[in-house]
């Protein structure tokens, strides 16, 4: 009985062991190759969803030249060429110091503002080993207006000309065609119109893109403002923008319709006085051109 059992063991051994050795080499490779961390790239094509910054950043050594325009009101008719006669613009240079640190400097025509920002991107969505469900960036910016105030006798200290923005950007690429971003935002304005106006505005941004070909995507962005009614002056609206992203090699071109004439955060959050319901809309575009300043060593 014992011998029989042994014989069976040997028989099985004889059949199984050589078979194992002849396993398909590709299958064996799959078992041998250890899982690695695979980052999820291109959650958004551009460093902007539309108005709002996206979780994307310039990687180390890359420089972005960014140009934005918002034209006048579309419903201003043919006389004003549907708003194209008028425009607000923003130009900036944005550089990736490391893969997690981007710095930028820019100038906007509205309020003659300069801005400077840092974007920290410590968390990147990834699969495989050490998988991470989302990408997150922290965007911190300061703006200074160089405009003259209505009364020339006013002396406005530099500190009062400043505004600050802090945004937490959290995004997930759910599928190659679908990415969504949540952007809780604080805007702090050192000087406001009246003493009733809050210095600090909280807003919650939602944005996303639906890619429908390899190089084009539909993008949408909305900001909900808390305490919008506390702002004095003309009624303020929540900015909503809908557009098309077109990627051509090292350019990303975004064209969209928005109710915000302002391009910077402290403008489109809290200073948007046009409304979709009243059909007060602007055509806008962003162009981003990326230059590789320092090549990566591989």
């Amino acid at each position: 009985m014992r011998k029989l059992r042994l014989l069976i063991v040997i028989a099985i051994g004889l059949i199984v062991l050589p078979l194992q050795a002849q396993n398909d080499l590709l299958e064996m490779l799959d078992q041998e190759i250890k899982p690695v961390r695979v980052p999820v790239d291109a959650t958004f094509k551009s460093t902007r969803v539309i108005n709002c910054h996206s979780i994307e950043r310039m990687q180390a050594g890359n420089l972005e030249f960014h140009v934005s325009h918002r034209f006048g009101l579309i419903n201003s008719g043919f006389k004003k060429f549907y708003g194209l006669d008028e425009s607000s613009s923003y130009v900036s240079l944005e550089y990736g110091v490391t893969n997690w640190l981007e710095v930028g400097l820019g100038r906007a025509t509205v309020d003659e503002s300069f801005n400077g920002f840092v974007k920290l991107s410590p968390i990147r969505q990834s699969k495989g080993k050490w998988a991470m469900p989302v990408s997150a960036s922290l965007y911190l910016a300061t703006m200074t207006t160089t405009k003259d105030y209505p009364d020339p006798t006013w002396v406005v200290d530099a500190i009062h000309r400043r505004s600050f923005v802090a945004q937490l950007l959290v995004a997930r690429k759910f599928a190659p065609w679908l990415s969504l971003q949540v952007s809780p935002t604080f805007v702090h304005r050192n000087m406001v119109a009246t003493s009733q106006d809050p210095n600090r505005i909280f807003a919650l941004g939602l944005g996303g893109r639906v890619k429908f070909t390899r190089r084009t995507a539909l993008s949408v962005e909305y900001f909900w403002l808390k305490d919008r009614s506390l702002l004095t002056g003309p009624p303020r609206y929540n900015p909503l923008s809908i557009g098309l992203d077109i990627e051509t090699g090292s350019h990303v071109f975004q064209i969209f319709v928005t109710n915000s004439f302002n391009i910077l955060e402290h403008g489109f959050i809290g200073e948007t006085t046009r409304s979709w319901r009243k059909k007060e809309l602007h055509i806008g575009f962003n162009i981003s051109r990326v230059f590789t300043v320092i090549k990566k060593k591989t």
């Binding site: 011998k3 042994l6 014989l7 063991v9 040997i10 051994g13 004889l14 062991l17 050589p18 194992q20 050795a21 002849q22 398909d24 080499l25 590709l26 064996m28 490779l29 799959d30 078992q31 041998e32 190759i33 250890k34 690695v36 695979v38 980052p39 999820v40 790239d41 291109a42 990687q59 180390a60 050594g61 890359n62 190659p176 390899r214 190089r215 990627e247 051509t248 090699g249 090292s250 990326v290 590789t292 090549k295 990566k296 060593k297 591989t298």
Partner: protein, 189 residues
């Protein structure tokens, strides 16, 4: 356990282990490719290519993660994964083939053994039969395999849009450089 039975068992295991001896392995294979045009050169390295070589049968298998290609231009890396090879849909490239008329006795120390490899190359979800030249060279406890060949993007259904047509080459030369070591089956498997 009877003595004869025990010997038989040992023999069985020995033959199995013996056939493992024919297997050589690397997980740090190097692959380089370049897209050369007058306007721009786009190149990338891959240092984590896994491969088996069976020096009894001449069989070769190779696998790599597309996402692990490292480009000198970060933006090119994004476009490569996102637009050209669609790495999320087709994460791996594989090769499975055989060295034609393989003669293990020619695999001598420090002498180049010129071989012809034939097999199936799978990239971007398309499998294509290829036949390319290569060199094997054994140096002690190491076998080096090198090959240079060219692929056509068309073959693998990798489309280049008109707008960047003059920036991406249609033919891509590929350098493969593998350093095999004797395969040790991991314990507990």
């Amino acid at each position: 356990m009877s003595k004869s039975g025990f010997i038989l068992l040992l023999l069985t295991i020995f033959t199995a282990v013996k056939s493992q001896d024919n297997l050589w392995f690397t997980r740090t294979g190097h692959i380089y490719f370049i897209s050369h045009t007058d306007i721009i050169d786009i190149d990338a390295n891959h240092y984590q290519t896994g491969s088996f070589l069976n020096i009894a049968s001449g069989e070769i298998a190779l696998t790599l993660l597309m996402k692990s290609f490292q480009f000198t231009l970060p933006l090119a890396e994004e476009h490569f994964n996102e637009n050209y090879v669609e790495s999320e849909k087709f994460p791996k490239a594989t090769f499975k083939g055989k060295i034609l008329d393989f003669d293990p006795s020619k695999l001598l120390n420090d002498i180049d053994y010129k071989v012809v490899i034939q097999g199936d190359l799978a990239i971007h979800g398309v499998t294509s039969s290829v036949r390319e030249q290569g060199i094997l060279r054994r140096s002690g406890n190491e076998i080096r395999a090198v090959s240079r060949f060219t692929i056509q993007l068309d073959t693998f259904n990798i489309k280049v849009p008109n707008i960047v047509e003059d920036r991406v080459a249609k033919e891509i030369p590929i350098d493969v450089n593998l350093k095999y070591e004797p395969y040790k089956k991991p314990a507990g498997k």
